[in-house]
Symmetry: C2
Subunit: 575 residues, 2 copies
Amino acid sequence: MSVRALASALPMMEWARLYHRDTLASDLVAAVIVTIMLIPQSLAYASLAGLPPEVGLYASIAPLLLYAVFGTSRVLAVGPVAVVSLMTATAIGEHAAIGSAQYGTIAITLAFLSGTMLLLMGLLRLGFLASFLSHPVISGFITASALLIAAGQLKVILGVKIEGQHFFELVWGLISQLGKVHITTAAIGLSMVAFLFWARRGLKPLLLSWGLPTRLADALAKAGPVAGIAVSAVLTWFFEWHQTGVRIVGSVPAGLPPLSWPQWDMALWKELAVPALLISVVGFVESVSVGQTLAAKRRQRIEPDRELVALGASNVGAALTGGFPVTGGFARSVVNFDAGAQTPAAGAFTAVGILLAALLLTPALYYVPQATLSATIVVAVLSLVDLRILRITWAYSRADFSAVLVTLLVTLAAGVEAGLIAGVVLSLMLYLFKTSRPHIAEVGLVPGTEHFRNVLRHKVRVSPHLASLRVDESLYFANARVLEDRVNALVAERPQLAHLVLQCSAINDIDASALESLEAIHQRLSDAGVRLHLSEVKGPVMDRLQKTDFLMHLNGQVYLSHFQAVSDLAPEMVN
Amino acid sequence: MSVRALASALPMMEWARLYHRDTLASDLVAAVIVTIMLIPQSLAYASLAGLPPEVGLYASIAPLLLYAVFGTSRVLAVGPVAVVSLMTATAIGEHAAIGSAQYGTIAITLAFLSGTMLLLMGLLRLGFLASFLSHPVISGFITASALLIAAGQLKVILGVKIEGQHFFELVWGLISQLGKVHITTAAIGLSMVAFLFWARRGLKPLLLSWGLPTRLADALAKAGPVAGIAVSAVLTWFFEWHQTGVRIVGSVPAGLPPLSWPQWDMALWKELAVPALLISVVGFVESVSVGQTLAAKRRQRIEPDRELVALGASNVGAALTGGFPVTGGFARSVVNFDAGAQTPAAGAFTAVGILLAALLLTPALYYVPQATLSATIVVAVLSLVDLRILRITWAYSRADFSAVLVTLLVTLAAGVEAGLIAGVVLSLMLYLFKTSRPHIAEVGLVPGTEHFRNVLRHKVRVSPHLASLRVDESLYFANARVLEDRVNALVAERPQLAHLVLQCSAINDIDASALESLEAIHQRLSDAGVRLHLSEVKGPVMDRLQKTDFLMHLNGQVYLSHFQAVSDLAPEMVN
């Protein structure tokens, strides 16, 4: 195997060969910053997924290492992510109770299935399938998921217990339980939320005003959330708030990630198949869009089909080391990028950092209040809420607006899986509906030019003997009959008609149904004494028509340009 | 209500006002011929649907009358039809045993539901929905249904008993039961098949050679099947074949169609909803294509949305008079057309003829062997088998071929409902797949012209500073990323690139996702120091873009023609 072949098999070879001391320094600095940020995030997302905190650390080690080997993005950081964690909780919730051993096993199985699907999709080059998730559907879904997560975490922050998973149930539960709020918990949680919101904008200027150098201020500002969590833990320990009912993380087992294995249970796999697929697709879409955005800033590229393989390997890695479904996260990848990571080695160094945390740092997590972790989640996900998309799509296109709205509402009211499926199905149906009613314009000659325009919009020349129709859509089964109807109507209205010319400049394809329709149109026109002509037929369409009898039987001609057709058939229009 | 408004509400007013003696004569002659043909067909299709023979007569009376009032085709004959009868048998078979009272009630309920759906679709103008059944799917479905019907009737003709409904089960059953064939039944049935095949071509020439006038020979030839059935009944009576185990029609109650009522059982309705919808759509498609073909021959038109209402009324009529689902049949409509029917009054006269048959003729049906009825079905449906469509679509387009093949095989192997659904879903997926991978050509200037062509196919002029891409598809969510990838690849390859021009002549729509992709492309090009321009943007697309910020932020220009863009941006290419 040549070096080139190996590099093509393993993207890491591309950057590993050129690795030098400067790159190492940049990558190490980035790794330290990202490690500090990832520790609380990993704990928080594990609890969002309904799993013990150490699982969040485990899920951030093997996936990062595997992505470093297989990934094509230089800066993507793979690990637990908010929306995927919520989807994980939803999927497992139907099969096991939070806290049970079975819950953890199903999380591992889900990561394994999702990883296998991603690997298969990558090997079969099915990355394009993700594009059937339209931007409106993704926007609606992410916003709804973020609201759903925030509402779910709010009950932890307020220290109340609520049954129910859907948004409106959660909101109603919060309102009706307001009297039972646990005051200390709420005080801790809400101050943390306030601190985090302030820290985003206010911390760095404050540190700078204290005279700290920019680079240090920057790094410390990023460590703000960690400092906040540390302070809340110290206060809880000192005032013994956990004795008054404030829930804390408690003892987290220290040690290496365990070797784990999915549950080989076909009935379970069958039930997890749809959630695993949805998790795979959502994770892939999130990861690729982050990766592409960051790669473009350095004029680099990522390869979606190889990203599938890398994410697949990461998830299988997560499954084998006691983790749960992971993907490339926006927040951590941006931090990695801003911190100057040059190669995926930065990710590998981060993995080592988190491994050290899992080995040494877990006792320090004992007194961390659950409410502060929830606060970090709420602040993180609220930045994902984007309701402007409703206004933007409303102005741009009603179809896109409906896709956003339906995805948003169904996700809120019936959960992530139903919402995503409803959005995809609706957006495909709207697209098909649109293409099934193509714009067909009757065109006439703009005097003094060779241009043809819609007779309803422009002053153009027409002839009673010749009609020109321009179809603004590829012809396929769902819209072929529309053209038939239009031609039938035209012929019934114009007794003097002798020629019909179809201007085909916007017809990118004609399928077998549309061809049969054209033959039917041709037959009916023949029966009625009208000749059918085509103009401006595209190369690939013409190639295919030439394989059929249609052109042979055609009683009219195929013209290169529409002007040529009209000059020939109705010279009185041209002169 | 003015006459015009009434005519628009009831299509019959259009022809009824102009009715005169010549039209009456033509219609009466046509009615007599069609009545003779319809009697055995109605019996046969009732037995195909698993219903007693008289139900076939009932289903041919009220529907014909109602279609005469509401229909827009002058010659369509509505009644029991082979494929719809098979679908009816399949749908009822899951809920009741053949011969039970419940079976008949469900048939009535199915006709009622199907009629109501057709009426609603007509009132909501949803006729276009039928176009989502592509020609390949319909062809595959009709051929498979015909084979399925023929195999099912062959067991009656051979007098064997076979469990199983699917084609391969039936064929295997026939082969394994060949030793148990009932010889007399098989002799009657197979001679009838042979006679019918011969009668189609041979009977008229024979009658003419006997010196009969053409018109009479024509009419008698059409009565051939009826004569065959009569002869088989007389022979059965004379030789008492029914005593040896030949199954005969037996006593058919004489009388008017009964008043009947669907079963008001929501649970049943829910289970019948999908079959009723499929029956409605298939019936509508069959009826409309027959109606359109015949109308066009006389330069008449039919209106699909009003056809829905007419077929809906016909089916509700069938439900209220002890019938089962009906639609406009090909064979009988063509006979009606050829026999010179001028208006739907011919249909009304046919209804009277069949009513007389139901009142007076039923004793004559006693000795008709079931095998001869099955023989008429086999001969009728085998003319629907069209396997050439496989060869034709194979040559034309692999996507269309797969749609035919999958519909055909799934219908044969898993039944009519599964086959139809598989075909529709597959053809939509193939279409979406095709549009998700649009043809994107890099184009260059054909020297000495203002035309631009694919750089890979033609000798054209290009510039290292300017790239021209032509996208041959509307941009929407499923293909937007393809353009992003293509542009990313292009920019990564061409360090000297300063301008990218998208030629938009074949872009009929840009949805919100594609707009976001364009914005992302624009952002990445800006980051890379490349300017993005558009040329030949269509009016409706431009209208919509002008509602957005995109054009305002665009770092390039929008040119009317691509030539203009290139002259401006890379004048060295033009000179």
